[in-house]
Symmetry: C2
Subunit: 428 residues, 2 copies
């Protein structure tokens, strides 16, 4: 890679997500050459991906150009690159645009969908971890309705209108709720010649409650909200296979469905050279100590979803969410600065700011440490927090405009098939 | 196609552009079954495609779901389909989703890029007639800057930063102006480690002035604006070939450039079965009479870009622009209504509302019938007219927010490579 070596140490950050970005900002102006690598040229605000999939938001309003964030920091460079391998001994990384030596390396690659080795699922299921994936899901769902019009085979038509969402974490719950609102408010008008009452939204969960990371009260209320909206909530049911047509489970229950969204698991996006059992746990997350140092390797750190920091409170590692990532990024930024100044490091302490999920209009659940609440007020809090957390003033305004419009009009205007997902003959 | 036959006559409209939509609205509530077909599920506001390409607008804000426009009209159905052939004798069309009989057929397929049979150009040039094409161009331009960072070969780097735009109609002029503003306001900050002064924007025109459809004053002023912005304007120069690297012309002048945008010609998007010399002119436009009836065929009409309506004032047919399309659509809607009511048809009379083009901030040219003006006021008029012409309240607000933001901040935040265009190894 064509980057000049300076007299300052070089810190390479892989990934411009929540963790990588908050880390980079802390290193601005420090006596170090910082190189940020990402396979996209933008930061993705993942919590709102489901709204891109369901036509409520445009993709560009939840993405933010990484070069724009970094342009005010002359000591930080950006390269669009996919990192393929790390050579820990040689302190070198290999990417699709060449290799690069580092003095300090930070893995902030986040997480990817975990199909737990089920090849059939991986081939046929839709994931929703990136903007292209979310747009693919948007296209597929809309194409399925268009195709439902073309068949007179009732079984086939119902299959096209049957949506199976596996995993009732925030992603699954929010997607199911949004789809239920589309079924109610948009489909009957958009498809007058289709019996959209036949649209089924099945949310399948292997555990015994939805939103299992949240309080029991939140789970209970969320399930109530989902059922009010007409979502079929399945508990203690495990999906075992999918061939693009039939969803099989660990019981007699099965579903004929043309769309299966897999939101039932994520794993760390570790990198070759740091992916052996010495480094990663079962969820493919890199084991780090309280300073985010990768165990057993010098000068390599991991932050965010890909890092597994075990504590008494979190024996499985911190939850794979935005908050731990942002907090770890900041703390590591301070620690690397201390390292450069030859000071001793400070251990990371996680401040749990709570969790929230939205199910539909006026329907959300919020768990704060000392206060748990649900309903309209929770929904407003959810919106405010997400607007505030978005990067960029323009994005906030555009998202706000869309939300106000969608709220007043019961509408979602981004129901556009910009790039068809199905293999159509004419794809433009 | 799975559409029931009613006792009313069936009118099939191919294309949901300016012409098709304004026609359909006129047929709302009439005693006819109207079927609109389009290969996209949305209407594209083509005049702003160049802003999508240059990161000033998100694609979703210049697209509008066709089903949403049509949902208030119970007698109009929509199908996502690509029409492959027309059987004039059998009054039947064939599409990728099946065939359909019609009583009246309206071709409103618009226009497509015309490479005048030059295969090499068609293979390597970028077109900008649809949203996917505009997004491809956006990705390619951004990828070229990323790639320019990777090479130490100065020649190669300059080639990646050399943009050739062929055709100085509104599209070419507006794109060249937008690129010049990006060069000045965004690239130096986004790419501090690249000598962005080397970015070249070449606008090539075979005629002797830019915006040749507009007044001489407008051409003159537009050229001045372009040169102020640093665009190299080439006149009386014809591009003869492009292999992806080298642009050749009819003179000794040639350009080494990794991007060539072809905006030098459009042709009618006619359809098999109606594309023989009996029906179309040299520009592939379907010959129609003053009632938009296709010459020599009963019950088939053509409107908009694809229709060639010759008059004394326009011996080559009306200009291929939004205004003639909208006006023809409306008039044909009234004429078909008269036909259903067994009244006589009224000939189409074109009302020339003038033309306009924008070159950059505070820089536009407007030709009205009795008043031609340029500069800041023209720029405001351009913006107001385009905001007003956009379909949908939400789109207008989102475009307005983006424009205000871009104006105040000298910025364009949608510089996102959502789907890479170049064949990269990792495309997500």
């Amino acid at each position: 890679m064509n980057i000049p070596r300076l007299s300052y140490p070089r810190i390479v950050i892989i990934g411009g997500g929540f963790a990588g970005l908050s880390l980079a900002k802390k290193l601005a102006g420090k006596e170090a050459q910082v190189v940020m690598l990402d396979k996209h040229n933008y930061h993705t605000f993942q919590p709102l991906l489901y709204q891109v999939s369901t036509g409520g938001l445009e993709p560009d309003s939840i993405a933010y150009p990484l070069r724009k964030v970094l342009k005010n920091y002359p000591n930080i460079l950006f390269r669009l690159a996919h990192v393929e391998e790390i050579d820990v001994q040689a302190k070198k990384i290999f990417t699709d645009i060449g290799s690069l030596k580092y003095d300090y390396l930070v893995i902030a690659t986040g997480s990817e969908t975990n199909f737990f080795g089920n090849q059939a699922l991986e081939t046929h299921a839709m994931a929703m971890k990136s903007i292209p994936q979310s747009l693919n899901l948007r296209s597929l769902m809309l194409e399925n309705f268009e195709d439902a019009l073309l068949t007179s085979d009732l079984n086939e038509r119902n299959k096209l209108m049957n949506f199976v969402i596996v995993g009732a974490g925030p992603t699954g719950v929010e997607l199911a709720g949004a789809l239920a609102e589309i079924k109610k408010g948009i489909l009957p008008k958009d498809y007058p010649d289709l019996d959209t009452r036949m649209v089924q939204i099945n949310l399948i969960q292997s555990g015994d409650r939805v939103l299992k990371e949240m309080s029991e009260k939140a789970s209970e209320k969320a399930e109530e909200f989902l059922e009010d909206l007409g979502v079929n909530v399945w508990k203690n049911l495990r999906v075992t296979g999918y061939d693009g047509q039939l969803v099989t489970t660990n019981t007699d229950v099965s579903f004929e469905a043309a769309t299966l969204v897999w939101a039932a698991g994520v794993k760390g996006a570790s990198i070759k050279g740091l992916d052996s059992e010495d480094f990663v746990n079962r969820g493919n997350r890199i084991l780090v100590d309280a300073y985010n140092q990768v165990k057993g390797v010098e000068n390599i750190f991991a932050v965010g979803d890909v890092a597994c920091m075990v504590s008494e409170e979190f024996p499985q590692g911190l939850p794979m969410m935005a908050q731990p990532a942002i907090q770890q990024g900041k703390q590591l930024g301070e620690n690397i600065t201390r390292l450069l100044e030859r000071k001793s490091l400070k251990p990371f302490v996680y401040k749990d700011k709570g969790a929230m999920a939205t199910i539909g209009r006026n329907k959300a659940v919020v768990d704060l440490k000392h206060w748990k609440f649900q309903g309209v007020f929770a929904w407003f809090v959810w919106m405010l927090v997400h607007l505030y957390a978005l990067i960029g003033f323009r994005n906030r305004v555009v998202v706000f405009v869309n939300w106000v419009y969608n709220y007043i009009r019961f509408d979602r205007e981004a129901r556009l098939i910009i790039r068809p997902f199905k293999k159509r003959k004419y794809r433009d």
